[in-house]
Symmetry: C2
C-alpha cells in the first residue's frame, strides 16, 4: 500500500486515468475524487473511476496522505491557496501540469514558501479525447513521468510520488524546472500551437469544406493534437510563454529560410533540410525502441 | 480486362502499390515495371510486385496501352520528352504527381501540345515508409484519386484511367488543375513543410537528444510526415511553389497573431482559436465518416 487516502482534484482524462491505474494496482486504500462540476464527479463514480466522490474540498482532503492536483494550469494558484488553509505540512501534494515553472511559482505565491511535501510532476501522456469518459488505467504504461523537485522538496515526498507513478507502469525521471519547460516547449507546446493554428487557418478559408474533404491520413495525424482541450492549451501557452515564444522564434527562422529557398528554387537547401529531418526522426524512433 | 499491357515507370511506393493492386484485381494482362535503378527493379520482380521488368525504356513501353509515370515531380519533363519520341497518340499516359500544374506544363513543353491521351492524376495515399518494399495492394482502398483532365483530354482516356483506379478500390473525382494545387498546398504540402522544418529545428538544438527523448505520442504523430521522401518533397515544394508560398503567408499571419496573443497574455483569443480548430477538425472527421 503506497498511500492510504489518495485525493484526486479534477477527474478528467489525467486525474481519472491515475485513479483507475492506482485502483487496478491496489496501491491505495481509498481513492477520492473531487471536482467543481457535480456532473463530472457523478460520472466518475458511475464509471467506477474512483472509490468515492466528495464535492466539498475541505471534506475531500481531510485525512489525505497524498493530494494530486489534476486541474488546468490556470487553476493551480487558486487551488493551492485553498489547500494552504486546509492541509498540514505532513500531506504530500503533487500536480500533473504540463508546465512546471508556473506551477512552482503558483505554489510559492500561495503557500508563502515552497512546502517540502510539494513535488511538481508531469506525466507525458494523453490522448485525442479528454474528459473522465476517456480515463484509462493503461494511459501511463511505458510513458514517462517527469518530477522536478526543488532544493526545498523532501526526498521522502519525491519517493512516494515516484512510487505512485511507477505502480501505474510509468518510467519516472527527474530534472530541473527550467530544463523541463524548455524541453516541453520544443516537443509538445510548439507542436500543439502549430497544429491548432493550421486547422484554424484552413477552417477560415472560403472553400474549407473542399479543403478538408481532400485531406489524407497524413493531415489527420498531423492535426490530431489540434483536437486537444482548448482551455488546457490556452493555460499552457500562457504559463510557459517565455520558452514557447523563444522556440517559436527559432522555428520561424527555420521556416523563413525554407520559404526563401522555395522562392529562389534552391532545391539543394530543401533536400538537405528534409533529409536531415527524416534522418533525425528515424534516429530518434530507433532510440525509443532500443 | 481494363488494360492489356500496363507499364509502370518507377516502382516505388506508389508505382509498386498500383502494380500490386491491379494484379490482385486481375485488371491487366501484363504489368511491366521500368526504373532507373536496376537494384530496385530486380527487387520489384523478386517481391512479385510486377509481372516483368524491363530496364530499357523503349522496350518497356513498346506495345503499351497505358503508361503510368510514378516518378518524382522533378523528373516528369525529362520522362515526357523521352515518351514523346517513343509513344504513338493512341497510348494513354497518366501520372501520380502531387502537383498538377507543373506536370501539365511539363507535358505541354515536352509534347509540344497536350496529348489527348494524357490524363493528369493524383492518388491521395501514402505511408510513412517509401520504396518498393513498402508497396501494398490495399494502399488505395477507400482513398481518393483526383484526375484533372483539360479541354484537350479525351473522355475515353479519362474513363480508362478512372477504371484503373477504381479497380484498386479508390474513389475517383475530377477537378481543375489550379483548384487541385490550391487544395493540396493547404492540406498536404504546407503540413509537410511545417513538419520537416520542426524536426530540423529541434535536431539543430544543442540538447537534441534530451528533447527527442521526452517527446510523446503527439509529437510522433505530428512529425510522421517528416519521414517522407526528401527528394519527392523537394520537388513538390518547388513544383507548387506559388500556391505553397501563398498558403505559408496565410499561415504565418495566423501564427503571428497567436504569438502576439501569447505575449500579451490574451487568453480569450487563444481559447477562441484553439476551440475553433478543435471544432473544425471534429466536424471534418464526422463528414469523413458519414
Amino acid at each position: 500500500m503506497i498511500v492510504e487516502r489518495l485525493v484526486i482534484l479534477g477527474v478528467g482524462l489525467i486525474g481519472g486515468s491515475l485513479a483507475r491505474a492506482v485502483r487496478v494496482a491496489g496501491a491505495c486504500r481509498q481513492v477520492i475524487g473531487w471536482g467543481r462540476s457535480p456532473g463530472t464527479l457523478q460520472r466518475a463514480l458511475e464509471l467506477g473511476v474512483v472509490d468515492e466522490i466528495e464535492p466539498n474540498l475541505a471534506s475531500a482532503v481531510r485525512g489525505a496522505d497524498l493530494v494530486v492536483a489534476a486541474i488546468p494550469p490556470g487553476a493551480m494558484e487558486g487551488m493551492f491557496r485553498e489547500l494552504a488553509k486546509l492541509l498540514g505540512p505532513e500531506v504530500i501534494i503533487t500536480d500533473v501540469g504540463s508546465t512546471k515553472g508556473s506551477v512552482v511559482a503558483a505554489a510559492r505565491a500561495a503557500f508563502g514558501a515552497l512546502p517540502p511535501g510539494f513535488v511538481p510532476g508531469h506525466p507525458i501522456a494523453g490522448k485525442e479525447n479528454s474528459g473522465v469518459e476517456a480515463a484509462d488505467a493503461d494511459l501511463f504504461r511505458c510513458k514517462r513521468v517527469i518530477l522536478t523537485p526543488l532544493p526545498e522538496t523532501s526526498p521522502e515526498a519525491v519517493a512516494k510520488v515516484r512510487a505512485l507513478w511507477e505502480c501505474c507502469g510509468a518510467e519516472v525521471s527527474e530534472m530541473g524546472v527550467e530544463h523541463h519547460d524548455t524541453v516541453l516547449a520544443a516537443t509538445s507546446h510548439l507542436p500543439h500551437l502549430l497544429a491548432f493554428t493550421l486547422v484554424d487557418t484552413l477552417a477560415n478559408m472560403d472553400d474549407n469544406w473542399e479543403i478538408f474533404r481532400y485531406a489524407a491520413g497524413g493531415f489527420r495525424d498531423f492535426t490530431r493534437i489540434a483536437s486537444s482541450d482548448p482551455v488546457m492549451w490556452r493555460d499552457i501557452c500562457l504559463a510557459n510563454r517565455v520558452d514557447l515564444l523563444a522556440m517559436l522564434d527559432r522555428y520561424n527562422d527555420g521556416l523563413q529560410q525554407v520559404a526563401t529557398a522555395i522562392a529562389a528554387g534552391d532545391g539543394e537547401y530543401l533536400y538537405r533540410i528534409f533529409g536531415h529531418a527524416r534522418a533525425a526522426r528515424e534516429h530518434f524512433l530507433r532510440l525509443e525502441k532500443g
